[in-house]
Symmetry: C2
Subunit: 347 residues, 2 copies
DNA sequence: AAAATCATGGCAACCGTTTGCCAAACTTTG
DNA sequence: CAAAGTTTGGCAAACGGTTGCCATGATTTT
């Protein structure tokens, strides 16, 4: 059939091709395409027509080399499989595509060093980066922000623009909810120690409980995965608490599984509140009461902030922070306090 | 504190810097770094030392421009939020990182045209691409494969290397399982019409049921999301079947939710089998019996195939296809056929 | 009508790296 | 010891754009 004349990855069309075809200089072609005000309407139109006919696609490498702009933004997440990031990936992807940027996805494997190293190595290939819940400590993070435009999500670092999901405020709602159901002994199930969000949530929790004249404790820390749910569930049962607020939904879902295994009824014996409202929180068993976070919106906001910064036009007001509200979504993992808080059923 | 002397995004170190420092020509530096056999051990060492001291990071744009290799591989998925792709994203990410490549994630929004267009535009910025379950029709797909090295997942196109997850074979297992439980009337819940996998699964299903001297039907097509689960569940109930095999887990989970709402007990009234074993299939309610697919492995295999192709060394045997087996994972959404297949309970 | 301004297009340098080709120095071989 | 071969390093030309600067001609201002 088609043997012989395979086009063999033909040479791509360049501005020089357009230039010879239209009889102008390559520089004029470049300007006609990117800097429309700089050439006459007539030539601009001729160039555009030629580009269209030849099916011209600019070579982003070459463009990057001379202009310094690569058209690529990286999204760094600590673990691509954590469903929390799905919304982020999607939100940023959408907004980046709308802005004409490509998204480079990087998994930092939960390591601050990885974050720093990757970012440093790629800084010349990127116009900017979005760091989701960075593990990196404050110092190197600000240093990095000097090397390359950065927006961080759920982290507060001086001088680095940020998008915050206000889960701490939501935690107040969660505590009100639990207290109104009669719970007096509520524990916090802690996520990773190095996580900024974890500390913020814990502090919010303590403050909220103290407003009711009570004290709270925390168990953990636990890695924020489903696997850790077993240990977390056992630890909570040992405290004798009637309710818990969990660092994130992933961990909470893991706990739910374990509690079911152990024959502990949720919410009859123990109420569980998660954070983030990830994929699965609504169809696990029982469906999880959780703090719904506008994750996709956070992604979009982060991109918007970053692109605003890359935009040359000087007279722009640049927001230094965006705070997004969360709200409690009540499902079936929370309920009235058990009539007699007794001992825990055996396994 | 640190006012005044902010380094203002300082000029990155180039091979020329290394060259002047070691007293050799830039070309020698380039060779010392990338083509070690080409220079003497002594200079190579001196260059390496200088590079280390100066903390040199090669500019990938410049390298790409002259060498044609970009060090970037794209992964195209039809919808980043479909949990099926999480494993793929992770698997490819791992293997690419190991091979020193960066991963560009592209959402094609379920459109074949998007696929073609994006790929065409980016072909100069990519060394290759992995297409997950492409929607594109066969013709343009082979044409694209001529423009840029490609590996497709779950799709059979002549001349394009592929990784196949052998769900059709697994469907046989699923049917055996259901038949052994007494089911005689099993329907297939169809995914998108344009999906190659969907057709493959349907054919396998029909063949498997016919081996038992029975016939089967299908309902649908449905978009492969949870939202479609309601319609799918209702359609299945109308058929009066006692069991169904569903195009994918996402749809199956959606059905489970709907069935629960309608008071249909799973598996007492209806058995449900999904495909893929995505995140959530194990903790939904009831946990889903499904065809577990080695998705991460598929991602790794696809990367391995692609990189083998990019590798220059000629005397390599290039696999044209990899087929990965699936197996039935029995959980709690399948059970014995109802004693009297009666009418469906009302809503 | 001369001077100043403006719009438009071309020239050429540059971005940082790779690579074909050549030259020098050194090593082997006959 | 000369001829041939082998290392090793340098020169310079790409790769495909962008952009500062200049020249030309047209337009406006005084």
């Amino acid at each position: 059939m088609d043997r012989g004349n395979r086009p063999a990855r033909l040479r791509p069309v360049t501005i020089t091709d357009i230039a010879t075809r239209t009889g102008v200089a390559p520089s004029t072609v470049s300007r006609a395409l990117n800097n429309p005000g700089r050439v006459s309407a007539a030539t601009r139109e001729r160039v555009a027509a030629a580009a269209r006919e030849l099916n011209y696609v600019p070579n982003s490498q070459a463009r990057a080399l001379s202009s310094g702009r690569t058209g690529t933004i990286a999204l760094l997440v600590s673990d691509v499989t954590n469903p929390f990031y799905f919304g982020l990936i999607r939100g940023t992807q959408q907004q980046l595509k709308a802005g004409g940027y490509a998204q480079l996805l990087i998994d930092t494997e939960d390591s601050g060093e990885h974050e720093a190293e990757m970012l440093h190595k790629m800084r010349q290939s990127l116009d900017g980066a979005i760091l989701a819940a960075p593990r990196l400590s404050e110092r190197p993070l600000s240093r990095l922000a000097g090397e390359i435009p950065l927006v961080v999500i759920n982290r507060h670092v001086r001088g680095v623009p940020r998008v915050m999901i206000d889960t701490p405020a939501g935690i107040g709602q969660a505590v009100e909810h639990l207290v109104s159901l009669g719970h007096r002994d509520i524990v916090y199930v802690s996520g990773p120690e190095r996580s900024w969000s974890n500390e913020a949530r814990w502090h919010a929790m303590r403050a909220a409980v103290e407003r009711h004249g009570r004290r709270t404790r925390r168990v953990g820390p636990f890695p924020p995965g489903r696997r850790s749910g077993s240990a977390a569930a056992d630890a909570v049962l040992n405290t004798g608490a009637t309710a818990c607020v969990v660092f994130n939904d992933l961990l909470a879902i893991g706990m739910l599984t374990r509690l079911r295994e152990r024959g502990v009824a949720v919410p009859a014996d123990l109420s569980v509140v998660g954070c983030d409202d990830i994929f699965g929180a609504d169809f696990c068993n029982p469906p999880l009461t959780t703090l719904a976070a506008p994750i996709e919106e956070a992604g979009r906001a982060a991109v918007a902030m970053l692109l605003a910064r890359l935009d040359q036009r000087p007279a722009r007001v640049l927001r230094r922070a965006v705070v997004l509200p969360t709200h409690l979504t009540v499902r079936e993992s929370t309920g009235p306090v058990p009539s007699r808080a007794g001992t825990v059923p055996g396994p």
